[in-house]
């Protein structure tokens, strides 16, 4: 019967985990594909080891020898539920079948890290188990800081930061302190089974609702009213087995989804697309700005022709150039984790956006400033092959510190990239095109020019920083000999 859940105590903290935890809080490399990886980095974030030890992580188990990742079919337990050893907690879909996964430990399910319908690699934490109630909040905070608090089937309510500039973690997800059966409050709350389910789903405190049903009981309609959603037509009830039920009911503030146009088809996101969507949404909380810069590429093109036979790609050239420029402007390679600090990254890891059948992934060229052009090209080829075979390891797509996106090959002359959460800047590269250029002496000439546009987090990277970085980058590209050194 099912396999047991691999939960183990979090390792005690050590000093260098800070850099990891950074990547935790700023989850996905932009267009990273599985929202779950970042969970990988959940492990280290303990600030207080003695307490931490009691918060256990629930890991994605290996249900078969061939299984590399698993999809969460459903969470049998919800956040706040008390678990006892041997109880089924979550249902995982492996390559073959759905299996119940049981817990080895007693405790309280403090946070669900990987929501229903999402996928996580084997061994990645998918939930947090607290030993006592006091630890729930703490565990929750950790879970929340991973920005993946919400099971995807739940309404996105908590992921909307409150309108006030207060930090997102406060966004209240009311604790369901008392478990349904025993509600011996001063006032007896009577709610129907479906009303309770809805309240839990929409994170509504059932104690705050005034029932309008028979005998003043709380009905599903009361909860729907409180959640600010139009009651679903009565048919939508029961029946359907829950796949991420697409009835997102944002809080009252959010507008109702537009009516669907007749005849339209709805195709649910794949795991990768859902992760992209989520990341994109998360990116809205970062104040960004953009700076564009024209770069002459005649010399680069010439160099490219020379090194092409040796297996060097344009991507490698651009990544190398960006890395070399970043080495001179570490702030552009930094990131802002909590709105209070600069986090300077020790390595320059260039993530390169790659379109992959129906999705996006960002293989990472690690230490791009240190590797020579040929090694870098070779490394890039390996990464692309792996990406195609879906064999990229998490650290091969989520360790980027700066992202490069190039749409030049499609003839795009310039575009604007969205900054992936967790990074300081992203560079959007347009096509290199012959352009009439006038020089200071009034001479016209035709030169290959490409426009690059960098989006950066203005909390840490300011306009002058970016301008200086771009200037350096342009200089390197225009005098590309140094790239081959």
């Amino acid at each position: 019967m099912a396999s047991s859940l691999l939960s183990r105590p979090s390792p005690p903290c050590n000093t260098h985990t800070i850099s990891f935890s950074y990547s935790l809080a700023s989850p996905l490399q932009w267009p990273s594909r599985h929202s779950s990886f970042l969970k990988f980095h959940l492990r280290p974030y303990q600030r207080n080891p003695s307490v931490q030890a009691k918060i256990r992580e629930i890991f994605m188990p290996a249900l078969s020898s061939t299984m590399t990742e698993g999809k969460i079919v459903s969470w049998i337990k919800s956040e706040g539920d008390v678990l006892s050893k041997g109880e089924s907690v979550v249902v995982v879909e492996s390559d073959k079948a759905d299996m119940d996964v049981e817990t080895f430990y007693d405790g309280i399910l403090a946070a669900i890290v990987v929501g229903e319908g999402e996928t996580a690699p084997v061994g990645a934490p998918i939930g947090l188990l607290a030993e006592t109630e006091e630890e729930i909040a703490e565990a929750k905070a950790k879970g929340a800081s991973s920005s993946n608090t919400v099971p995807s089937s739940a309404p996105p309510a908590p992921s909307f930061p409150p309108p006030s500039p207060v930090s997102g973690t406060v966004s209240s997800s009311p604790k369901k302190v008392a478990l349904p059966p025993v509600s011996d409050g001063p006032r007896k709350i009577v709610a129907t089974p479906y009303a309770k389910k809805l309240a839990k789903q929409h994170k509504i405190d059932i104690g705050s609702i005034v029932g309008t049903g028979p005998f003043n009981r709380i009905t599903p309609a009361d909860i729907e009213a409180a959640a600010g959603i139009a009651p679903n037509s009565s048919t939508s009830n029961a029946g359907s087995v829950n796949v991420a039920s697409p009835a997102p009911s944002p809080k009252t503030a959010a507008p109702a989804p537009p009516p669907s146009i007749p005849g339209s088809t709805v195709v649910p996101f794949t795991t990768m697309q859902a992760a992209v969507s989520k990341n994109m949404f998360d990116s809205l909380s970062v104040p960004t700005f953009r700076v564009g810069y024209p770069v002459m590429t005649g010399a680069l093109d010439a160099l490219y022709e020379k090194v092409k036979p040796k297996g060097v790609t344009m991507t490698a050239l651009l990544a190398k150039a960006a890395a070399m420029a970043l080495a001179q402007h570490p702030v552009v390679n930094a990131s802002c984790k909590d709105g209070k600090n600069f986090t300077y990254n020790s390595s320059i890891n260039i993530a390169v956006a790659v379109a992959i059948n129906g999705g996006l992934i960002t293989p990472v060229l690690q230490d791009a400033d240190k590797l020579d052009l040929y090694l870098l090209s070779q490394r890039w080829k390996e990464l692309v092959d792996k990406a195609r075979a879906k064999q990229l390891q998490p650290n091969e797509y989520n360790s980027g510190t700066f992202t490069l996106s190039n749409l030049g090959m499609f003839g795009v002359d310039r575009f604007d990239a969205i900054l992936p959460p967790g990074q300081g800047a992203i560079m959007a590269v347009g096509a290199s095109k012959p352009t009439v250029v006038a020089d200071g002496d009034g001479f016209f000439s035709v030169k290959s020019k490409m426009l690059v546009n960098v989006t950066a987090d203005h909390r840490i990277v300011y306009g002058a920083d970016l301008a200086a970085f771009l200037q350096t980058f342009a200089k390197i590209v225009e005098n590309p000999e140094s790239l081959t050194l």
Binding site: M1, V190, K196, K197, P220, A238, G239, S240
Partner: protein
């Protein structure tokens, strides 16, 4: 046909209700935790009745009867001639599915047979159990499909909205019961079984009286007697059944109302099936289960999966580990009030206020008035004690000659088809052929959407047996997800589980949760009955694409050690 239906309806509703409530009070024998309390219809030979009716509706019954009997072999064409000195070879008390099965087989064996029925032919199964509930479940299944937008969308179907007419649904159940009851009656009549009306009482060895209350009794003698009086819903004390807001399965099947919120006491088969029906019709349900887990009695793994599909996503919540110590029907403007106490500590736990409560805590044997004292038999918790051949055991532990008890009243396996199988087994014995029924080969099913079915041992039972008897137990599983037909139906949710001995390939148990599980189980139950081993059955061919391939794959995925020698048992050479 029409006339008989309306007749049976009226005779069914008013007097039945009153007599039944009397009965339920009489029977406080406890069988609350017995899991196998659902009623299935193994209406053996029911086909006869159908055949008789088909296309001949307008003809008198005698005609159709004769026609169908002509189709049978000569030995079946008439009831037998009794042995010397007896009115009958076999008298069966109770014309439920068990008595019916026994009677048909007795006639086939040439026994002169009578059946005594004090209520209506068909017993619980046909009138107040599995038959009408299947009609309701057929409706609930369709409602579920119409209500599931995802499901419809996946098919590209558009249904504006699903609604139902309560009375129409109720009529469907009632009409089905009438029809099956008539089929049963006709099949008995066509074979010449004497149907004697009244309450049967055993007067002494081989002597039975019967008659309606207030009329003179008739006394008959019989070489052998089978008790097949069945059971009635069990209502624990403290629960006041009013038939309107606090009801048993008897009332629930009539579907006189669809409450907004219904508590179901007991989460066994009966409770589960009713939760399926009532939630599909719009009720919300709260289960009250005395044990710590819902669905006790099912293989734990199947139970878990079933809970995930049948409980969690529906408008159902539950309280486990609690007894309903007191249930008061709705009155004086108050809802139904249910007081819950902890099952272990008996401490008050909670109070529920709901619109209706369905008591599905199991069934109590109906043996009162049988005259068991006249043959020195004492019931145990209401059940008639029997040996493995269904022969009745008296107070002193001795077999009572010529008296047998089958079905719910012996409590061995409270399933309609088990009763019928036991009846056939008894008839075999009284005809001089020893026969012991293997209860582990009797399948059971729960007709939820999707269905649950099982035969043989659960995994914990098998492991325990293996530990005691020193054999290894293995488990194989297949998913409906991999089955073409199931996917075509968009019903990939499901699991089949095989529990077997890897050393010799013996099938110990099979459990299925998924589309049409109840129909799929029989390949496994037949294999167990016939002693077919996995290594043999895995070569059986299944049509593609069918759901039966789930079992095909299941058998094929089992790993039986290949070194089994052709000599099964140790033999001296």
């Amino acid at each position: 046909m029409q006339a008989s239906i309306s007749l049976s309806v009226s005779s069914h509703s008013s007097p039945a209700a009153s007599t039944k409530s009397v009965r339920t009070e009489e029977f406080i024998c406890i069988n609350a935790l017995k899991p196998a309390n659902v009623r299935f219809c193994g209406l053996r030979k029911e086909i006869l009745g159908f055949y008789a009716l088909k296309g001949f509706d307008s003809r008198p019954i005698e005609l159709s009867g004769r026609r169908s009997s002509r189709k049978l072999s000569a030995s079946l064409s008439e009831n037998g001639v009794p042995s010397k000195g007896f009115d009958y070879d076999l008298v069966i008390i109770g014309a439920g599915v068990g008595g019916h099965g026994a009677a048909l087989h007795a006639v086939e064996k040439g026994l002169k047979t009578a059946i005594i029925e004090g209520d209506v032919v068909g017993g619980t199964c046909v009138n107040r159990g599995c038959v009408p509930s299947k009609a309701l479940l057929a409706v609930s299944g369709r409602m579920r499909e119409f209500q599931s937008e995802q499901h419809l969308k996946a098919f590209g179907l558009q249904v504006s909205s699903a609604g139902y007419d309560r009375q129409g649904v109720a009529d469907h159940a009632n009409n089905l019961a009438s029809k099956i009851r008539n089929n049963l009656t006709n099949s008995l009549k066509s074979l010449g079984v004497d149907i004697l009306t009244g309450v049967g009482t055993i007067l002494g060895p081989q002597k039975v009286k019967y008659g309606k209350v207030g009329f003179s009794d008739n006394v008959i003698t019989a070489k052998d007697i089978i008790i097949a009086t069945g059971s009635v819903p069990y209502v624990p004390k403290g629960i006041e059944v009013d038939g309107k807001t606090v009801i048993t399965s008897d009332h629930a099947l009539k579907l006189e109302s669809v409450p907004e919120w219904m508590a179901i006491v007991g989460s066994g088969y009966i409770g589960l099936e009713f939760s399926d029906v009532y939630t599909a019709l719009g009720s919300e349900v709260t289960f009250i289960e005395a044990l710590d887990q819902l669905m006790p009695g099912f293989d734990p793994e199947i139970g878990k999966l079933a809970q995930r599909v049948l409980i969690n996503p529906r408008k159902i919540d539950y309280h486990t580990g609690v007894f309903a110590s007191k249930i008061t029907p709705a009155k004086d403007g108050k809802p139904v009030i249910i007081e819950l106490i902890d099952a272990k500590t008996k401490e008050p736990k909670d109070t529920l206020e709901v619109d209706a409560a369905l008591i599905a805590t199991g069934r109590a044997p109906f043996t009162k008035g049988l005259g068991l004292e006249n043959i020195n038999v004492e019931t145990q918790r209401g059940f008639v004690p029997v040996d493995e051949r269904m022969a009745v055991i008296d107070k002193n532990g001795k077999l009572v000659p010529h008296v047998y008890c089958i079905g719910d009243s012996n409590g061995k396996m409270m399933l309609a088809h088990a009763a019928s199988a036991q009846g056939i087994s008894v008839v075999e014995q009284v005809c001089g052929k020893d026969h012991v029924l293997n209860h582990l080969s009797i399948p059971a099913a729960c007709f939820t959407h999707p269905e649950i079915s099982m035969v043989g041992l659960t995994e914990p039972q098998a492991r325990e047996k293996g530990a005691n008897e020193g054999f290894e137990v293995s488990v194989a599983k297949t998913s409906f997800k991999a089955n073409t037909k199931a996917l075509a139906e968009n019903e990939g949710e499901g699991l089949a589980k095989l529990i077997y001995r890897p050393d010799n390939g013996e099938i110990l148990g099979v459990h299925i949760f998924g589309l049409h599980a109840a129909d799929l189980i029989h390949e496994a139950s037949n294999a167990i009955t016939l002693g077919t081993r996995i290594q043999d059955i895995k070569f059986a061919v299944h049509a593609h694409p069918t759901l039966s391939e789930v079992l095909d794959e299941l058998f094929k995925s089992a790993k039986v050690s290949s070194v089994s020698s052709p000599i099964k048992e140790p033999v001296a050479v």
